[in-house]
């Protein structure tokens, strides 16, 4: 009769319950090993580079950690940025802007390729660097040739070019600034300004 086996099942369940209950008093021995671990330290083999925060003028020192060790086949990519503890001003601290720099470096909306918009168009189109620089040089030269003022009305030599202007970047380096100055001013450009004005 299968009845016995059914009963056996029920009895077994009850016994099992008793055993498990007993287990709760320490007879179980079902403990897992104490295997909890901390997250691995993510910077252990990254490359550390000293840099300066590009935002405000406090000039907080940065330690920029990047993937890759500058070996031939590894493409360096920043994966973490924190304050440089040696820096006399920020001493390792960063404000919310500096602490979020990683997302500026890897922003979705970073410019990726030279883009060009035709007159009247409603979109930017990808172009090559050569094409873009050729075209810009052409436009600038044409404008300069046409509108450069060598002499003022009273005959004074003024050598100025007023129809093309430029705004310079407050976060670019002094070296960039110097090259920019040399290039723009020597062409006679006067409408040359920067954020200090604002």
């Amino acid at each position: 009769m299968n009845m016995v086996s059914r009963r056996g099942f029920i009895g077994g369940a009850a016994a099992g319950l008793a055993v498990t209950t007993l287990g709760a008093f320490g007879f179980g021995g079902a403990e897992q090993a104490l295997a909890a671990s901390v997250r691995p330290y993510k910077l252990s083999r990254t490359t550390e580079t000293r840099n300066t925060c590009p935002y405000c003028s406090v000039s907080c020192g940065l330690l920029v950690y990047s993937l890759g060790d500058h070996s031939k086949n590894a493409k360096a990519s920043v994966l973490h940025i924190e304050g440089d503890p040696d820096h006399p001003i920020n001493r390792g601290t960063l404000c919310p802007k500096g602490a979020g720099l990683l997302d500026f470096v890897h922003a979705e909306t970073r410019t990726k390729y030279p883009m060009y918009r035709k007159p009247g168009s409603d979109k930017l189109e990808r172009v090559s660097w050569d094409w873009a620089l050729d075209r810009i040089a052409r436009l600038m030269k044409d404008d300069r040739d046409k509108n450069f003022v060598e002499k003022a009305a009273n005959g004074t030599t003024v050598n100025r070019w007023l129809t093309t202007g430029m705004l310079c970047a407050s976060a670019s380096t002094n070296e960039t600034a110097y090259i920019t100055y040399k290039w723009a001013r020597n062409m006679g450009m006067l409408a040359l300004d920067n954020q200090a004005r604002i």
Binding site: T49, N51, P54, Y55, C56, S57, S59, S66, P88, C95, K97, G100, F104, A107, E108, T109, R110, T111, P114, M115, R117, S121, D122, W129, A137, R138, K141, R144, D145, E150, T156, T157, N159, R160, M166, L167, A169, S170, A171, S172, T173, N174, E175, T176, A177, I179, T180, W183, R185, N186, M187, G188, M189, L190, A191, L192, D193, Q195, A196, R197
Partner: protein, 810 residues
């Protein structure tokens, strides 16, 4: 900044007025907290809003925006009336005793010489009485009513506490409490520090705001000392550097100035740049101008710049007007500007009157943007609904959006607010197809050069003769450029430090002391000389030692000028060369020379009894309580209301705005008045964001996601606005919609008996990036500039406000 960031910790009283460093410069602000924690210093905040800085202040005093000069003039009056000035300092280190011309005067809000049609002054009367010896006359007893200090006393006499309260809305008791706290710092062992930023500069009287506090600091004897000074907290990482390098419409590197059209010849140009001392025995360091000029022009044109052609003087463009940003957009609007290059700048969001800016850009033939991020400017032609309404098919501008490396990928130096030049190194490869700015500029240059060589063209001598000695002309390395900026010898020169020695040609200069006027030295920016010597790149130094914890760290990077960390540091010692406060020693006279923790801002071996003033750049050798003809809108500060003000100027009811403030003709029509726009608007940064950059960074977008305006509970109640409601804010120039942050931190100011409600408009949102789309704050702001710098008046304008519904998502 005259001092360093760390030096803030040496102050006893820190006045934050015209700034919000906790919010805009948190890591520099730590030194304010250090002063509080370790020195027991007090922090006072004077601001229309209870800011994050105010949240840790010991004392907060509200003030209506645009009335700082009235407030501080009241302070000056209080100090003079109560004799709370540092007498020895004022007498010896400032021009207090110099006599002002008899025909100089001030009446009804105007100084002598005003021409209303030009909105400018004839400044002939704005100078000293000059004796037969060619020097300015003095009255050491300070009794003569024409003594500068007496002229000043007369000028501020109307700013009684009652009058100050009527103008500024600062309660009298709070104003007086601030006066008392400041007055304590007139003692030589107590030092006050002024921290300011765009809260002072972005006004039509911005420069004079700063002047007023300078006067206070001079009266208290706090310039040139540890913990003191005037500390302009600059906004951007290298705004100092760009200004130093001369990227301003009227500048050349090292604060040399471009010739104006009237200076047709080199002699005329130099005659305006003599810097002859106005008192005996003064250094007047600008007398070396010809050396700076010649060395710079060698850097610009190399061999083509010769003594014979006055170092290519004629090739310099000459100014017939100021071509600042506002002017550039005015030209654009008038169709007089064809091409514009934005090298990492976002004018559509940063320049006042956004609607005017957009319309102006649309008149360009071509626009080039070079930026690591997609900017609103590079997409100004794109229709984004109410956030950027435009019809692209009507915009004929060719637009180039060029991808540029960011800080993480480039190398070079940045100048911080304290004038430190710090080198940085790239941490990753340029992503995608981005290139460095230098490569792009050089690339365009090479192409234009080739075109000129092939086709010829208009006057291209300066282009083909540009000094371009770089190994790869298409991408000069930052190292090469930094060496050139520092300067080197082109021919053997005598060593000024030791005339028995000769420095051979081709050597890096040790500093600007070695510059020559004859073309034997080349130096791209004289104030930077010393940054890259024969010893190597000083900007890359990383030595942390800071003797006496003075907050100087002399061997960390390089500070211009001459690695000097605290400007005017000679003034930290008395007339005998003994520090005013031994606890705060910077430099002292040891009997033979000046020694101390910083590089002396003085002749190293000039004894204190020689009568040389501590302010070696000025012709007086002294600091100027009254600044002659050097400011366009007056030698002393005067309270003028902002161009858009909720009240009339009760001091000078006939004057609207700063009489010399910059306004273009059509922009007068775009001013509103208090009848239609009753609330006092102001714009500002928030700590979570940096201008229009961080809205591209997810982390920062999370921290402050959406455009809002801040209003007080009283105004909110009046308008039926609850926290989180949408409101429409509009000025004569445009309208924005924003979420309302209703706060106790903004309270109505009672000005001349009537309440003025402040509406705060933070600036950080646009139509590109990770944040929620928002209207720009610059939709509201007026196109008006400071009289001296042409900086737009972003901090004070008029708006109206009402409850509304959320904007349609574009």
């Amino acid at each position: 900044m005259t001092n360093t960031w760390m030096d803030l910790k040496n102050a006893d009283l820190l006045i934050v007025m015209g700034g919000n460093p906790a919010e805009a410069h948190p890591c520099g602000f730590k030194w304010v907290i250090e002063a509080k924690v370790h020195r027991g210093a007090k922090l006072v905040v004077i601001d229309p809003r209870f800011t994050r800085t105010a949240s840790v202040a010991d004392f907060y005093c509200p003030i209506r925006q645009g009335t700082d000069i009235a407030f501080l003039s009241g302070v000056i009056k209080y100090l003079l009336d109560n004799d709370k000035i540092q007498h020895e300092y004022v007498k010896n280190f400032t021009n207090a005793s110099l006599l002002v011309k008899e025909n100089f005067g001030f009446e009804d809000g105007l100084f002598t010489g005003y021409d209303e049609t030009k909105r400018d002054y004839d400044k002939a009367s704005w100078s000293y009485q000059v004796g037969d010896d060619g020097y300015a006359k003095v009255d050491e007893t300070l009794a003569d009513p024409r003594c500068v200090i007496n002229v000043l006393r007369e000028h501020v006499k109307q700013y009684t506490p009652e009058f100050v309260e009527r103008i500024t809305g600062s309660p009298r008791a709070k104003f007086l409490k601030v006066c008392e706290m400041m007055a304590e710092c007139s003692s030589p062992d107590k030092v006050m520090n002024s921290l300011y930023a765009l809260g002072w500069t972005q006004h039509s009287s911005g420069s004079q705001n700063i002047r007023t506090m300078c006067i206070v600091q001079m009266l208290l004897g706090n310039m040139g000392v540890r913990g003191g000074g005037m500390n302009a907290l600059r906004g951007h990482s290298n705004i100092q550097g760009l200004t130093d390098i001369g990227l301003l419409s009227n500048s050349m590197p090292g604060y040399l100035s471009l010739p104006v059209e009237a200076e047709a010849t080199f002699d005329q140009y130099m005659s305006q740049r003599q810097f002859k001392p106005l008192r005996p025995n003064q250094m007047s360091y600008w007398q070396n101008y010809p050396k700076f000029y010649a060395s710079l022009q060698k850097g610009m044109f190399g061999k083509a710049a010769t003594p014979e052609n006055n170092f290519a003087y004629d090739w310099l463009p000459k100014l017939d007007a100021t071509y600042d940003i506002l002017k550039a957009f005015e030209l654009m609007q008038d169709g007089k500007m064809n091409g514009y290059i934005c090298q990492g700048f976002n004018p559509l969001m940063s320049i006042p009157d956004k609607n005017k800016v957009r319309a102006s850009l649309a008149k360009l033939k071509f626009l080039v943007t070079m930026d690591p991020l997609e900017t609103e400017t590079s997409r100004f032609w794109e229709d984004h609904g109410e956030f950027n309404p435009i019809d692209p098919s009507k915009v004929m501008t060719e637009v180039f959006q060029l991808p540029v490396t960011c800080f993480a990928e480039d190398e070079g130096s940045l100048a911080n607010s304290a004038r430190w030049l710090q080198w940085h190194w790239p941490a990753q490869d340029p992503p995608w197809e981005s290139r460095t700015d230098i490569a792009i500029m050089s690339g365009i240059r090479s192409r234009m050069l080739a075109l000129y060589e092939k086709e010829g063209g208009t006057f291209f001598d300066p282009i083909v003769n540009t000094y371009w000695p770089y190994l790869d002309p298409n991408e000069p390395t930052p190292d090469e450029v930094a060496r050139e900026v520092n300067g080197y010898t082109l021919a053997p020169i005598k060593d000024p430090a030791d005339p028995t020695k000769t420095i051979p040609a081709g050597k890096q200069l040790d500093g600007f002391g070695q510059l020559q006027a004859d073309g034997s030295t080349l130096c791209g920016c004289w104030i930077y000389s010393g940054q890259y010597t024969e010893q190597g790149n000083a900007m890359a130094r990383r030595i942390t030692a800071d003797p006496d914890s003075a907050g100087i760290a002399p061997n960390w990077a390089f500070a211009w000028p001459a690695n000097r960390r605290i400007l005017y540091n000679r003034a930290s010692a008395d007339t005998n060369g003994k520090p005013w406060d031994p606890e705060r020693t910077l430099i002292k006279w040891n009997g033979a020379k000046w020694v101390g923790y910083d590089v002396p801002d003085y002749g190293l071996t000039v004894a204190p009894d020689k009568g040389m003033g501590p302010f070696i750049l000025t012709e007086e050798g002294q600091a100027r309580l009254w600044c002659r003809e050097l400011m366009r809108d007056g030698p002393m500060p005067t309270h003028y209301e902002p161009f858009e003000s909720p009240v009339v100027n009760i001091a000078f009811p006939k004057v609207r705005g700063n009489p010399a403030g910059r306004v273009f003709k059509d922009d007068w029509l775009r001013f509103g008045d208090a009848k239609d726009f009753p609330y006092a608007g102001t714009t500002y940064r928030l700590t979570e964001h940096f201008h229009y950059w961080t809205k591209h960074a997810k982390i920062n977008a999370i921290l402050q996601p959406e455009f809002f305006v801040e209003i007080g509970e009283e105004l909110a109640k009046e308008k039926g606005v609850a926290k989180g409601d949408w409101v429409r804010v509009w000025s004569k120039r445009g309208s924005v919609k924003a979420v309302a942050v209703v706060t106790k931190r903004i309270k109505p100011l009672i000005c001349d008996g009537k309440p003025v409600h402040v509406v705060g408009v933070p600036i950080h949102w646009g139509f590109i990036g990770e944040t929620i789309m928002g209207h720009g704050a610059n939709t509201l702001t007026p196109f008006v500039g400071d009289a001296n710098t042409n900086t737009p008046e972003f901090k004070a304008f008029l708006v109206n406000l009402e409850r509304t519904t959320a904007p349609a998502v574009a």
